[in-house]
């Protein structure tokens, strides 16, 4: 299985898959002096989660990158497929880096990028 964005293949060299953050808070309680060192004097609360994110580092052709950029500005949702079997309907949240290398031939047509996808709807 390979990595793709809306059916377009991406050449991915690094893949960060931190779980989505949960709604979560830790609140300080007025302490019970008899249990100060034995039990936590806080309350944990939270239900639900934020959206899933996937950060991908890799490269693609300039033409493919133009498509990514267009999708980014328009907020278009497409299916993101990752080679570990994960998939979700996603939009591009941000580009952390995007660079072209000096040179000639094939390398001159490549864009090296790091970008973050964010969950658009439910998992597909």
């Amino acid at each position: 299985m390979s990595d793709s964005w809306g059916g377009t293949l991406l050449n991915i060299s690094e893949y960060h898959r931190l779980p989505a953050e949960r709604f979560f808070s830790e609140k300080e309680l007025l302490p019970d002096p008899s249990t100060l060192s034995t039990v936590p004097e806080t309350v944990l609360q939270g239900s639900g989660r934020y959206r899933k994110r996937r950060e991908l580092t890799g490269y693609c052709t300039k033409a493919t990158f133009d498509t990514l950029e267009t999708d980014y500005y328009s907020g278009t949702a497409k299916d993101l497929q990752c080679d570990d079997g994960f998939s979700m309907s996603a939009i591009i949240e941000k580009f952390t880096s995007a660079s072209r290398k000096l040179g000639s031939g094939e390398i001159a047509d490549l864009v090296f990028f790091t970008l973050t996808f964010i969950e658009a709807g439910g998992e597909t």
Binding site: K27, Q45, G46, S47, G48, G75
Partner: protein, 458 residues
């Protein structure tokens, strides 16, 4: 007081309310059609709810994002005036829905355990557009808003704002006014006051009428979380367990249904409903107020195999340091403390005098006098009873707590609670006079204002 599920008691005291046991909320727009693909659930992000003892109408504010939940590029999804004529917009199921006067219900809780906390209607809708996002804020009041806002309407078309009640019990006057505003008979509970009056009102609201009725009877009025109205004798003994029945054996322990118990609030009798013999603590039985255990004393007046009926006031919830209190200001105030209360009735009067110095050495000037007019009191004993009750109520409000704690949406204004905090040495029973909830998926906090009600063992 509403029963609190035992699973909720365990969950909240374990201090972890996460995931499937996290704070949950449900807001329903009651007038909106539902059906296939349609919902009347408002996607609330934050809810603020306030209930106060003295307010006829209670408030709730609900905030959520004004964006299509399945398309982030579709802002303004909940606008009521959205039409296909505005380029880029498509009229949807929320057309003409989020409009002032539409009815709203709110439930709060944890996981799947939810409880009704509000039934009312929208006063204001604010659609807020900022570069960072779009949101909706609904400002709502409960059904008491009808009583505050609407004039009473009489039968005479020439004088529509003149309403007369002839030879009616004051409580039935209140009930009649509520029925005229749309309450059904089964949703109105009144205690008859015994006070029969002829009275008329002109250009007055039902809230004005209720204020008058409270003044002449001393009763309390409130609308509960389900919209039911109550005009009943004022009591601060909530929650109260009445006539718990036990067949007992001398020397054997009995477990009462609830605890902690307000110190010396118990009545142990040989017959129900305040009848029979009233047994005496430490002569006929012993009682542990903190654990709710009662033991008939061997050789005492409660014979083995006899039935006893036990009534008492208990704390609906125990808030305790290290378990569920976030902060606790404890206030001792003389601002509303008088040296004398003089009740002037119809030709009679009576005076209550504050103890000075009081038990904690504070003093109150005897020349700080509150005069109260109660023309309905015709006997000196009635005047004295009113003065004594007002005096006791005033003394109790000398010590107040206003504390933030883990939200327990089942608690209501009027409930007694126990509060235990180390630094202030607070450990007594308090009575809730106002409660505010702040609710979101990651946050469930309540702020309670309560006054000292009585003592309890810890």
């Amino acid at each position: 007081m509403r029963p609190i599920p035992s699973s909720i008691r365990t969950l909240l005291k374990n201090k972890i309310m996460l995931g499937a046991n996290g704070p949950t909320q449900q807001v329903i727009l009651l007038d909106k059609p539902v059906g296939e693909g349609l919902t009347n659930a408002v996607p609330a992000k934050r809810i603020w709810l306030s209930r106060e003892e003295d307010a006829i109408a209670q408030r709730c504010t609900i905030e959520f994002d004004n964006v299509n939940p399945v398309d982030h590029k579709d802002p303004g999804y909940y606008m009521p005036y959205r039409t296909n004529e505005f380029t880029g917009h498509i009229q949807n199921e929320w057309h003409f829905q989020l409009i002032p006067s539409k009815r709203i219900s709110v439930q709060l809780g944890y996981g799947s355990e939810l409880v009704d906390v509000f039934l009312g209607s929208i006063d204001d809708v604010i659609f807020n557009a900022e570069p960072g996002g779009y949101s909706v804020t609904l400002d709502c009041r409960d059904l008491g808003s009808i009583l505050v806002d609407d004039m009473m309407i009489g039968d005479d078309p020439d004088e529509p704002y003149w309403v007369a009640f002839a030879d009616m019990d004051v409580s039935n006057i209140v009930k009649t006014a509520l029925l005229a505003k749309g309450w059904t008979s089964e949703n109105v509970t009144v205690d008859l006051s015994g006070l029969i009056l002829d009275i008329d009102f002109e250009r007055q609201t039902v809230a004005d009428l209720i204020d008058w009725a409270i003044d002449v009877t001393g009763y309390q009025f409130y609308i509960d979380e389900n919209g039911k109205a109550f005009f009943v004798e004022a009591t601060d003994k909530n929650p109260r367990s009445s006539d718990e029945t036990f067949v007992c054996t001398q020397g054997e322990e009995i477990s009462l249904g609830h605890w902690p118990i307000v110190l010396d609030s118990q009545e142990v009798r040989s017959a129900p409903s305040g009848g029979g013999t009233l047994f005496t603590k430490d002569t006929d039985y012993t009682i542990n107020f903190s654990t709710g255990k009662l033991v008939p004393i061997v050789g005492g007046g409660i014979a083995s195999s006899s039935t006893i009926y036990v009534s008492y006031v208990y704390a609906a919830w125990v808030f305790r340091h290290g378990e569920d209190i976030f902060r606790l200001p404890y206030t001792l105030s003389r601002r509303n403390q008088y040296g004398k209360i003089v009740v002037e009735g119809d030709g009679e009067s009576a005076t209550w005098e504050a103890p000075s110095p009081a038990w904690d050495t504070r003093t109150t000037s005897p020349n700080r006098v509150m005069f109260v007019s109660k023309p309905e009191a015709t006997e000196i004993s009635e005047c004295q009873e009113i003065a004594d009750k007002m005096g006791l109520d005033m003394l109790r409000r000398y010590g107040t707590v206003e504390f933030a704690a883990v939200a327990v949406p089942w608690l209501q204004v009027g409930d007694c609670i126990q509060v235990i905090e180390y630094s202030s040495t607070v450990s007594e029973i308090y009575r809730i006079v106002s409660v505010e909830f702040e609710y979101s998926p990651g946050n469930a906090v309540m702020t309670i204002r309560a006054y000292h009600f009585g003592y309890s063992a810890i």
